[in-house]
């Protein structure tokens, strides 16, 4: 799970962790219909699409990007073995083939995955894409110079844990032995344990082909070789402004997912989020053909937009698998007492938390740790029903049983970063709610880096803090395993199992589900596992954010999947 950009942001539920990430599209189709009323809603080729973003598209190198499903802008340039299905809503949470002919052929226990490349695949310079290039692309992502990607490759591939990339072992031409390329179109992955969700992983940009001859190391990000419908024409100031134009060697016949309507895409970033929304709502000049991939409507803007039909029609709503929650460290008193944790769960006032996060349109109250989407295997449960405003009586009762009849004083740690989900606003809402249950909350606001260091270190982890988790792909695996798998507790580095849960039955169930290659069956069992873990009250789920984003007046074919939660640039048309 990639951290958000550290630039302070102003809109309450600003963009979420992943570089492109965020949102899901429950009401996508509706929005499209509403917009069609003005005239021709059929998308046509041509024109320039402007992207107004607040965060620069830094590190535009497939090895360094941390994306869900290949990202939004990156996916225009980088094709991967598999990719996300570019469709609205739930259908969009599926994996589909991209460079490969299918989503992967596993062996019996899902430890060996084989892919075959489509025919006629070419880079922007016309040279052919080979399986060796994909292998090399993955290898270079192991180089410390190009760090930044997700940890799965290192964890899953056999004998990969100590591999340091192709730059270190110049003499050794074999590279990662876990990957075999028997011929130019075939690539075989050997995993050290069964992983039924490998096709999901193959959507990440590390599976982009990079020809060894063209690799320029850390400078590759300036002009990565395109395999997708667009190529980089200019990249100013480390991704501050990125201009993409058509890659003439890309062929729609090999790519069923990317529509590539506009001729040119101009990505401008470093803008203030309120300015982005103001520009999109004014929609003048080039801004009429503009979208944003990282800036949500804030509550203030939402209040304005909902009163304006024309604007409301231009809002795309999406859901991205994401949960904001309170985390407990059960090794610290009084949170070692399950009754205390339960009492807090009962006392929480989700309506004021939701308001602090931007109101019911921008946040949905959460009682489950898993996001409320089918692909995650969402199973409704509410073990400690608090209602809308919290059940202070029940909480007091539990506290009394726990020996805190006279009340309790605890410290809630949160990040000082403005307007992020772990922000002071949410913390004060919780502080206010717990007061009713006789719990006095002291706030400990930490600077972003400090906060991140503390909560992810086993040694310094506070007892009671705000946290959040987003999906690396729309499935229960990457959502539950890093947080609750006892073997993923990292003693001397960044640890995400903040509840320090190491339960044999939970670990065994995770292993069992990972063996499944039937993803629907796996989803159901993830949901059941979530409900089971929830009984331990190691977390208090607070809310799932909802993403609302404006698009310019001329923008057509807005597709928002449940995978990313935001409009897919590869589908957008401006003519």
């Amino acid at each position: 799970m990639r951290q958000p950009s550290v630039i302070a942001r102003r809109v309450a539920a600003a963009s979420v962790s992943l570089v492109v990430a965020a949102g899901a599209a429950a009401c996508g189709p509706e929005d499209n219909d509403a917009k069609g009323s003005g005239g021709d809603s059929t998308p046509h080729k041509g024109g320039t699409l402007t992207v107004l973003n607040s965060n620069p598209q830094q590190d535009f190198d497939p090895a360094r990007l941390y994306t869900s499903g290949g990202g939004n802008v990156p996916s225009l340039v980088f094709r991967t073995l598999t990719t996300r299905n570019r469709e609205n809503g739930e259908a969009g949470a599926k994996v589909v083939p991209d460079l490969a002919t299918d989503t992967g052929r596993p062996n019996k226990d899902a430890t060996v995955w084989t892919y075959t490349l489509k025919e006629g695949l070419k880079y922007e310079d016309g040279s052919p894409i080979t399986s060796a290039d994909i292998k090399y692309g993955i290898e270079r992502s192991f180089a410390p110079e190009l760090s930044g990607g997700a940890p799965y490759l290192r964890d899953w591939l056999v004998r990969a844990a100590d591999y340091q990339g192709p730059y270190k072992d110049k003499g050794d031409t074999k590279g990662l032995s876990a990957i075999e390329t028997p011929d130019a179109r075939t690539i075989v992955f050997h995993l050290n344990k069964p992983e039924g969700e490998f096709p999901y992983l193959a959507t990440q940009t590390q599976f982009t082909p990079v020809p060894k001859a063209k690799d320029t190391g850390t400078k590759y990000e300036q002009h990565p070789l395109s395999s997708g419908p667009y190529k980089v024409v200019s990249n100013e100031n480390d991704g501050e402004r990125l201009v993409l134009e058509r890659n003439t060697h890309w062929s729609a016949s090999t790519d069923a997912e990317r529509k590539a309507y506009p001729d040119k895409i101009d990505v401008r970033s470093g803008l203030d989020s309120s300015v982005i929304n103001q520009r999109l709502s004014s929609s003048q000049g080039a801004d009429a053909a503009a979208v944003t991939t990282d800036t949500n409507l804030g509550p203030a803007e939402l209040a304005k937009v909902t009163g304006d039909k024309e604007l409301a029609a231009r809002v795309g709503t999406g859901h991205f698998g994401y949960t904001d929650y309170i985390a407990f460290n059960p090794t610290i008193k009084p949170f070692d007492n399950a009754q205390v944790r339960q009492a807090i769960s009962y006392a929480i006032d989700r309506s004021s938390v939701v308001n602090a996060a931007g109101g019911s349109a921008l946040a949905e109250p959460a009682t489950t740790f898993l996001p409320n989407q089918k692909s995650f295997g969402y199973t409704q449960y509410d073990h400690f029903p608090a209602g809308d405003a919290g059940d202070a009586a029940k909480a007091k009762e539990l506290l009394k049983e726990a020996g805190y009849a006279k009340g309790l004083t605890v410290t809630l740690t949160h990040s000082n970063a403005k307007d992020f989900e772990t922000s002071p606003e949410i913390a004060t809402a919780i502080q206010d709610a717990l007061k009713k249950a006789g719990i006095t909350v002291r706030l400990q606001g930490l600077e972003e880096n400090d906060y991140s260091d503390k909560i992810h270190s086993v040694k310094s982890e506070p007892g009671f803090f705000l946290a959040h988790w987003g999906a690396d792909w729309p499935s229960g695996g990457p959502f539950l395993a890093p947080i609750f798998d006892g073997r993923q507790i990292v003693k001397d580095g960044a640890n995400f199992n903040t509840g320090l849960l190491d339960d044999k039955s939970v670990n065994a169930e995770i292993d069992a589900i990972n063996k499944l290659t039937d993803l629907d069956a796996a989803a159901k069992r993830w949901g059941a596992l979530d409900a089971k873990i929830g009984e331990r009250a190691l977390t208090v789920p607070l809310f799932h954010p909802v993403y609302k984003r404006l698009v310019g007046g001329d923008v057509k074919n807005v597709v928002i999947s449940d995978w990313t939660g935001v409009l897919d640039i590869s589908q957008v048309a401006v003519k």
Binding site: A300, A303, K304, G358, A417, T428, E447
Partner: protein, 316 residues
């Protein structure tokens, strides 16, 4: 030329009294201080406090905009409520006055204290001491203030009381110009005959600095300090904008402004209240500062007349 201190206290008041604008400003400042001090009392009269959430007073579906006209103004909430949280705006505004004024005053005190010590030491010390201190002052002046504030505020553990810290940080990095002023003024005074006379009396440097020089730099320092306070208030606001100011739930005007600026259309009063409060405060303090300068420095009086009704001083 030099301004009367203790001796001129009466004169000072007399001169200050003749400036209507400065008097009005003084009354406004006094009222603001009073409001800040009496914040608990005032909110008790209203029956609210600055931290309690009122989720029922905001429209959750519309981003949490206050329900009702003028941002939810009612008998219970005199100035309406804050969007999203429903916290009482009047309570936050008056408690915010405490923080904003308190931080600015404390920061100014720190700036003045450091500035005076460094400035006097540089002026009275040996060539080497002067060189070192002046160079150090140059370094401080050449450092980007906001950036150092960001860094310093990140270093100090969060257990340190935040308003105190903000005041300290603003104070620690903003003393350069006052040190320069004090140094120049001290050097001027040092050349005056009465300082030479004090030396001839047999007094040591320390005693001369304390008895002869410090009172002499008081006038420019007080004047400059009066003008620093409003600047420090806006610095606190700017730090809040960058996300390193005073922390919630403690309200401050800067923080309110920062949170409110996106609400200009949906809930304009949310922005206008802190902006108006800040404006009035800065205006009053600046006018008062000008008035103090005029009253302390009779020479300035003739050139910086504020308002009318002053008699021109006889000059034969």
């Amino acid at each position: 030329m030099s301004a009367p201190g203790a001796s001129g206290a009466r004169q000072f008041w007399r001169r200050l009294r003749t400036q209507r604008a400065a008097l009005v400003a003084a009354v406004v400042v006094a009222l603001l201080v009073l409001v800040a001090l009496a914040a608990p009392l005032l909110t008790a009269i209203e029956g609210q406090d600055p931290t309690t959430y009122h989720p029922s007073l905001v429209d959750s579906a519309r981003g949490g905009v206050p329900i009702g006209s003028f941002g939810g103004v009612s008998a219970d909430h005199w100035l309406g409520v804050e969007p999203q949280t429903g916290r009482d705006l009047f309570a936050r505004l008056v408690y915010g006055a405490r923080v904003s004024l308190g931080v600015a005053l404390a920061a100014t005190v720190v700036q003045v204290a450091i500035g005076v010590v460094v400035g006097v030491a540089a002026a009275l010390g040996s060539r080497l001491v002067d060189q070192l201190l002046s160079r150090f002052t140059d370094v401080i002046v050449a450092m980007p203030l906001m950036i150092m504030a960001l860094a310093l505020l990140a270093i100090v553990p969060s257990s340190f009381p935040r308003p105190v810290l903000v005041a300290l940080v603003i104070g620690l990095i903003g003393w350069g110009s006052i040190a320069k002023i004090v140094r120049a003024q001290t050097l001027t005074l040092k050349g005056l005959d009465y300082v030479a006379a004090a030396r001839l009396s047999g007094w040591g440097t320390w005693r001369i600095a304390r008895r002869e020089l410090l009172p002499g730099i008081a006038a420019p320092v007080i004047t400059y300090a009066a003008l620093l306070v409003p600047v420090d208030i806006t610095v606190e606001a700017a730090l809040s904008f960058l996300g390193v100011g005073v922390k919630p739930p403690t309200p401050s005007w800067g923080q309110m402004l920062t949170a409110a600026d996106v609400w200009y259309q949906a809930a304009p009063q949310y922005l206008l209240l802190p902006a108006g409060a800040l404006f009035v405060t800065v205006l009053a303090l600046t006018v008062l500062g000008d008035g103090v300068r005029t009253a302390l420095d009779p020479r300035a009086a003739s050139r910086l007349r504020v308002g009318t009704g002053r008699k021109r001083e006889a000059k034969a």
